[in-house]
């Protein structure tokens, strides 16, 4: 029991800080760079990703077990992306009906998540690392939290950069990338951390 808990803790810390989806694995960079103009939108996107990554990890774990049992492992990618697309649609419909306030907050970010490689990435990594059901779900949720942490930090930095001076050719996208690089440098400091 205790051992299981430390393992879960290690997976969580790993997913949030050490192997942060954006800064060390480069998963989910498109929404990371695209939806980080304002802190509020970044937080909304982050929340949506946590939500979808958690549920996707759970469902894809079951789907993968089915595929492996049937000897159809090669259909993994196809099945996962369909599950994710359907899931995003479903979550959208569910939220619209049941929790309209959250739906309004997440708004246009939900459909965008289908093409977020962090979501497909996390389910593929779950399979690769051979996680069991609970570990997979924890990995999904904490991976999403790591994404959220990264995107909110980044958005607040971008808001300030707007007002600083830098060479004109760097306007817009390039300066954001350089900022993200420096942020990734800071996150590299965590790579020495290891619980066991």
């Amino acid at each position: 029991m205790m051992e299981q808990l430390t393992r879960l803790l290690s997976i969580s810390l790993g997913a949030i800080l050490i192997n942060n989806f954006i800064f060390s694995q480069f998963l989910g960079c498109c929404p990371f760079l695209g939806c980080s103009n304002k802190v509020e939108t970044a937080a909304g996107m982050g929340l949506a990703v946590v939500f979808v990554m958690g549920i996707a990890s759970a469902i894809c774990y079951v789907v993968n077990m089915l595929l492996v049992a049937l000897g159809l492992g090669f259909l993994q990618t196809l099945a996962f992306i369909l599950v994710i697309a359907a899931l995003v649609q479903f979550v959208e419909m569910f939220l619209k009906k049941m929790v309209p306030s959250l739906y309004a907050a997440l708004g246009i970010y939900l459909p965008l998540i289908t093409t977020n490689c962090a979501v497909l990435g996390v389910v593929l990594l779950n399979v690769q690392e051979d996680y069991n059901f609970i570990e997979a779900v924890v990995h999904g949720i904490t991976g999403g939290l790591g994404f959220m942490l990264a995107i909110v930090l980044f958005a607040s930095m971008r808001e300030r950069i707007e007002f600083s001076e830098y060479p004109e050719s760097f306007k817009g996208f390039p300066i954001s990338l350089v900022t993200a690089g420096l942020l990734a440098l800071a996150f590299m400091g965590f790579s020495g951390m290891k619980i066991f």
């Binding site: 480069f26 369909l82 697309a85 760097f170 590299m188």
Partner: protein, 231 residues
């Protein structure tokens, strides 16, 4: 069909990465050696061309409401085919690109081209578009790999080129050493280096595009002046 115009668009003026800002995850993640860069670029080129052809071939028979789902299924199909073929024939590349091969499914370039181009164009035009956009993608990947590998570890062509054996496809080529590894800025081979290198490439591209726009403007102004003076 205007191949040269489309080529110029794909590689320079409408480059998928540097201008359309699509598909950056893999661009930053795998460009640590020339072997990876070329391998990834060509994989995407093949998948993009195949998807473009299929999507434009079936564009009239698929219902608009579920077109995105169908695109995704077609893309996932081709990605899996390439993934299996790589595992079987170039296992070193498959091991080195890892999870980024299946992740081509969500590479926005492919779904973006399907939505923006193939839906409205013929099969032949879509084929050319796939090749030219794929080339544009590959060029950027190769540039990133060469810069990061050279400055980061003082090598050129790691994994792909071996002085003793020529081209190697098993990923074990030592590359050509330009300067000793100790003198390289090792940070460029780490994730941080991906962000920084792409940032600087972007800036260079913006600078170049702006300069050429200014030049054109100047030329146009000059022409106008001449016309005015003639009149």
């Amino acid at each position: 069909m205007n191949f040269r115009k489309q080529l110029k668009e794909g590689v320079i003026t409408n480059n998928p990465i540097l201008v359309q800002q699509l598909g950056m995850c893999a661009t930053m993640a795998i460009t640590t050696s020339l072997f990876n860069g070329i391998g990834m670029g060509l994989s995407v080129l093949i998948i993009l061309t195949a998807c473009n052809v299929v999507v434009s071939a079936i564009r009239k028979i698929i219902p608009g409401e579920i077109r995105l789902a169908i695109f995704v299924v077609v893309i996932a199909g081709f990605v899996t085919i390439v993934d299996l073929l790589l595992q079987a024939f170039i296992p070193a590349l498959s091991a080195s690109l890892g999870v980024f091969i299946p992740l081509i499914v969500v590479n926005c370039i492919i779904i973006g081209r399907a939505e923006a181009f193939c839906q409205k164009n013929t099969v032949a035009a879509s084929f050319v578009d796939g090749v030219t956009q794929g080339l544009g993608y590959t060029v950027v990947l190769v540039a990133m790999s060469v810069i990061r590998e050279l400055l980061g570890s003082g090598r050129f062509g790691g994994g792909l080129i071996d002085l003793a054996r020529g081209l190697t496809l098993d990923g074990t080529g030592a590359g050509i050493r330009i300067f000793p590894e100790e003198f390289g800025a090792g940070i460029l081979t780490l994730p941080v280096g991906g962000f920084l290198t792409l940032g600087f490439l972007f800036a260079a591209m913006q600078y170049a595009l702006k300069k050429s726009a200014e030049k054109k403007e100047k030329a146009a102004k000059k022409l106008k002046k001449e016309e005015a003076s003639e009149a």
